[in-house]
Amino acid sequence: MANITELLEALNTKEASVSTADLAGELKASKEGTLKQLNREKDKGTVEGNSQEGWLITDAGRKALEKGDIHPSMIDEEVTMRQQFEAIARRIGIKEDRIVLASDIVWSGDYNDVKWVWQALGQADIADDLRSVWVNAWRAKLHKGIPPELETELTGVSKTEAAEEGKDTSKGRDYIIIDDEPLRVGENLGDYNLQDAKDILTIRTLKGRLAGAQAGGGHGAGSPPGATEKVSDLITALTPLLKKDSDVDALKEILADKLALQRQEILSHIPQPGPDAQPKTFLEQITEFVGALGGLKEAGPTLRTILGIPESSSGNPGTTAVPVQLKGANGEPIVMDLSKYIDLERFRGEERRADERHGQLMGLAKTVRENIPDGVAALKTAATEIKGGAKTPAPEQPQLYECGQCHTQFGVPPGQWEKVACPSCKAEYMHDEVVGP
């Protein structure tokens, strides 16, 4: 990529607009890089145009060129991390479009992480030989060492090849073990090579697990050297054999023997009633059985697997009469906080009461709304009152009388009358008989 001065000088010599491709060809730079430069200069106001219409230098650009007042930015000088990363790829000979794709993938993560850069270049389908060169060069620029995981890939020498070539394992002791993790401290500055460190850690883990199982067996101090120690010694002794090129069948046989030995040793520590043992009462037998089950529970899954005891799926703690303390993810015992539950129930009750109260209020409001006065109704009522002068009384119901003979009800004629006859049986009644004196 040409610098800004060269770019502006190239444009200054042109009287007509010039395309990006022509300009890039003249400057012997890539078209993409030249286009980026031109766009940046356009933002500064020193050039104008675009890829379709071509590019021209502006008056401001000419003045800046005459004054020599051009201060390239970090991007112009290709000193950003990404540009350096891409420059390495160009020097290797990777195509420009592949470089852009790979850089985009790398910059989507942490470009300082060599492992990520290796993975990202793999995702960009960069060939392994180019990838290792690219990552090694980038790693050197970052001043970072080879990650243990990429040792084979970046050094180009696999472990099997190293073993076949019979390399001295004492060489390359770059690792020490801290907190059960192999840590590279520099070339020949450590105690182990990577394989040794891993083997030692494996043996330590196995030893620790067996020691835990031995402790879970419930045997007290003062007992002879335990089976676990013997087994671990055996494993330690077998380690050189394992490292050598033993065939798979031999290794399997050794492992089977080791497990059989381990099982026998552990079973030997479980007291077996001899033929001359004192007969125990039923209660003592039950107590011992419960204790043994409790001990097995403490021994954990490893011992149960070795002894061939199936793991209880139900996990009912009541069978062994051992209380179970549940523990959370942080190892702290889980405590049931009833106060929160009580608060929750109280809150639910208050909510329910509030809902009921609201429902009753809404019903009351509805009733009130139905009975509130209305202006139109008031007008109608007032008009009715004025129309009638006063409230018209309801028409009086005629008084009815019952016949003493046929019990038929009948009315009396309006006004004055002396006699009235029953319409059914024609029985006559005098005025005084019906109305009274």
């Binding site: 509130i372 007008l379 109608k380 008009a383």
Partner: protein, 111 residues
């Protein structure tokens, strides 16, 4: 002198207020209104007295807003007579009836 926009807004507000009055009066029936006017009873007063407190508050707010916009009760009643010509003989039948109605509206606003 108010702006053209203000005058236009006032005009439309008068029309809208009168339309609401008309709708309510039509519900009551013109015959009833004539009876009330003939008896010398205030239609506006009777109507407002019959309203619920909520309605009264709402009407007060609306009337107050109209007054602030420069829309007087007189203008609304005039527009009402235009929209409902049957109201003209009622309003002009008795001397001072319209003035009484306007006074009822204003006193309602001051309550």
């Amino acid at each position: 002198m108010s702006s053209f926009m203000a005058r236009t807004a006032r005009h439309f507000l008068v029309i809208k207020a009168a339309r609401q009055f008309r709708q309510e009066l039509e519900k009551a029936g013109l015959d009833n209104l004539k009876i009330l006017a003939g008896a010398g009873k205030s239609i506006v007063g009777t109507y407002l007295n019959g309203c619920s407190p909520q309605e009264k508050t709402q009407y007060k707010q609306s009337l107050g807003a109209l007054l602030q916009m420069g829309v007087t009760p007189d203008m609304v009643l005039d527009e009402l007579c235009k929209q409902l010509p049957e109201m003209v003989p009622i309003m002009e039948g008795k001397g001072g009836y319209k003035k009484t109605e306007v006074g009822k509206l204003l006193s309602f606003l001051k309550e």
